[in-house]
């Protein structure tokens, strides 16, 4: 049983950076903005979080720095796509390039330095319980935060006026504008929140998952986060399931290799990708419900004159 718990904890840890970044992208996309700069924001978040934690010796300052770094990069993106009305897809991809380079520049002196891990918030007595202890009560701040924010986002999007505003802007900015909503302000907020969460996703990697800095340490997780938003059909809870599914499948293929399954490792490594496609196909048959969730104005620049 302890092994099962240990595997599940590993799954949660693998899923957390994906979940944080994907949640940020989901909120951004709900407002009709497509930001493909997730990978860049994660990397800058990771390096800034690490740098601050390393210099101050306090991992929590690192968490804040990671989020702020993500926000800064996102603000830059917002300036381009909201004010200068640049193409969102190209700007996002350029932001990824920019972030890869910038994070490497910032991180020059930090390679090969260890830091203490982001502390586990264990509760004496309860955290030591078999199975339930490590699974529910043995995590760090960011794991709990990722889950709490997912449920919060779900509640806000589906149940509140704020969520309705967000969806209205993403669905039809012109109608929202006509209704007197400030399209640009909503989109700006969504982009900045997206940046903060991507930054946190990066911070989780460099502070908790593998407490270190190395260039390009996100290894394409920003792209997986993008896919998870689609997988979740723009719904936070489904996306949560998707992130955990992807984490579980990653762990599963590693376990299958360890068990000596006589299949070349490359084929086993395909498992998370193929499983995600398969589950998406099974879930997507209900066409109408998916259309209702995908923001109709996704990726299109908004200007009142057009």
């Amino acid at each position: 049983m302890d092994i099962a718990a240990s595997i599940l904890v590993a799954v949660m840890m693998a899923a957390t950076p994906l979940l944080l970044a994907a949640l940020g992208e989901l909120i951004t996309e709900k407002a009709g903005v497509l930001n493909l700069g997730i990978e860049g924001m994660m990397l800058v978040g990771a390096v800034c979080a690490f740098a601050v934690a390393y210099k101050t010796g306090n991992a929590y300052f690192g968490v804040v720095a990671g989020a702020l770094a993500g926000v800064t990069l996102a603000a830059f993106f917002a300036l381009l796509v909201l004010v200068l009305l640049t193409n969102q897809v190209a700007t996002g991809l350029a932001l990824t390039l920019f972030g890869i380079g910038l994070s490497a520049l910032i991180g020059k002196g930090l390679v090969g330095q260890p830091i203490p891990r982001l502390p586990l918030l264990s509760i004496p007595g309860i955290s030591d319980l078999p199975v339930v202890g490590p699974l529910l009560f043995g995590h760090d701040l960011l794991v709990y935060l990722s889950l709490a924010l997912t449920f919060l986002a779900h509640r806000i999007i589906t149940r509140t006026r704020l969520g309705l505003t967000l969806r209205a802007v993403g669905e039809s900015p012109h109608v929202a504008h006509g209704l007197g909503l400030s399209v640009r302000r909503v989109q700006l907020s969504a982009i900045l929140i997206g940046g903060a969460l991507s930054g946190l996703g990066g911070a989780y990697l460099s502070l908790a998952y593998t407490p270190m800095w190395a260039e390009n340490m996100t290894s394409g997780r920003g792209w997986i986060a993008l896919a998870l938003v689609v997988f979740g059909t723009w719904r936070p809870l489904r996306m949560l399931a998707g992130a955990y599914l992807f984490g579980a499948m990653t762990l599963a293929q590693l376990h299958l290799q360890g068990l000596g399954v006589p299949i070349p490792s490359q084929f086993l490594s395909m498992l998370p990708y193929l499983a995600t496609i398969l589950v998406l196909v099974l879930m997507s048959r209900d066409a109408v419900r998916i259309k209702l969730n995908a923001p109709a104005a996704l990726g299109k620049s908004f200007h009142p004159d057009r």
Partner: protein, 361 residues
């Protein structure tokens, strides 16, 4: 920008450049260049080669000028980068990844006066030498240590990509492990990447959850060491001394040390004695080294490891001494013989005791 200001700008740029180019020509330095497959910030393979570059600068102050190009993908881009380095007057160019083999040869044919050194390849020319390290020697020693230190008899091995260098490492490790712990088994997980800290950490956890109590790795990040430290088990590092990432867990690391070779080859160019050739060095020259042993290792274990290391240097011990039978029961090295270099270089089979399967021809 109007066309006039553009022209003025261009002229200014040309003038600035020719000035600085003139300054560079005044000194007669040996120019050495490096091509890396990863960023030097990877703290692994490319990082170690860059340490070698810095060692050259230190060894010949004022006499050498070094250049590097990092993150050069294996493929179409490599040839252009190598060609540019040759065209810019570099005398000696190290291309430090296997996938640069064909591009290095092509550029070398066009630039007969430039010397090239290609790491881990097997094709040479009059101005192309090859060099590689006998990493499996290091694997033999850590296999012995693992055999002494494991309690469960299950050892986890985090591997990158199923290529001969990795496979021969796994086999050398397993043979040594089983020589001191005959019932031991090695669980191998490929992360199919040289560098992905997250995946390496996940693989480390999977191996530990499957009962391994020692980890070893043939990937570049210290993530597995960190996992071992957290779980309170032992681990071996790779490429550089990783003890900082797990002071309790880290038993030792197999270190790549290119410094001496790079300095020697640069000196050969300076002395005009450079010749093509093939070098495959290990413990003997220090190209493969071990990080300081962890103090938790009992005296007899350190002694066993050190004896093995010295025996390898003296030629008394070989990583692949027969009889060696592969997983399917086929004899690969006969009793009393040792595997030849080409056999080690092209190894594509597992010895008994290794989990999993390799891609077949």
């Amino acid at each position: 920008m109007t066309s006039r200001t553009l022209k003025a700008f261009l002229l200014g740029a040309v003038a600035a450049l020719s000035l600085s180019a003139g300054a560079a020509l005044a000194q007669d330095k040996t120019k050495v260049a490096f091509v890396y497959v990863g960023p030097i910030g990877d703290h692994g393979w490319s990082y170690r080669h860059d340490e070698g570059r810095l060692a050259i600068e230190k060894a010949f102050p004022g006499k050498v000028e070094t250049t590097y190009v990092e993150s050069v993908p294996e493929g179409a881009d490599a040839e252009r980068v190598i060609q540019q380095l040759a065209a810019k007057g570099n005398n000696l160019i190290f291309t430090t990844s296997f996938g640069y083999m064909e591009p290095t040869l092509k550029v070398a044919a066009r630039n007969p006066k430039v010397f090239f050194e290609h790491a881990t390849g097997f094709k040479r020319a009059a101005n192309v030498a090859t060099y590689a390290a006998r990493f499996h020697e290091g694997r033999t020693v850590i296999g012995l240590i693992a055999g002494k230190m494991t309690k469960t008899g299950v050892v986890g091995y985090i591997a990158s990509i199923p290529i001969p260098e990795v496979v021969s490492g796994i086999n050398a490790f397993t043979l040594a492990l089983k020589s001191v712990r005959p019932d031991a088994q090695v669980k191998v997980i490929y992360v199919n990447s040289w560098y992905d800290p997250g995946k390496e950490a996940a693989a480390a956890k999977a191996l530990l959850d499957q009962g391994a109590d020692i980890l070893t790795q043939h990937t570049d990040s210290p993530a597995p060491i960190q996992v071992a430290e957290e779980r309170g088990v032992y681990a071996f590092g790779q490429a550089s001394d990783m003890s900082k990432f797990g002071p309790k867990a880290h038993l030792t690391s197999i270190i790549d040390n290119w410094d001496a070779y790079y300095i020697a080859r640069t000196k050969a160019v300076m002395d005009k004695t450079w010749k093509s050739g093939d070098v495959w060095e290990g413990f003997d020259t220090g190209m493969v080294a071990l990080a300081p042993y962890n103090a938790v290792l009992p005296k007899d274990v350190v002694e066993l490891a050190e004896t093995a290391r010295k025996d390898i240097i003296a030629g008394k011990r070989h990583s692949f001494t027969g009889p060696i039978v592969d997983k399917d029961g086929k004899e690969r090295v006969a009793a009393g013989k040792t595997a030849t270099n080409p056999e080690i270089l092209s190894m594509d089979w597992y010895v008994q005791g290794v989990s999993g399967d390799l891609p077949k021809k």
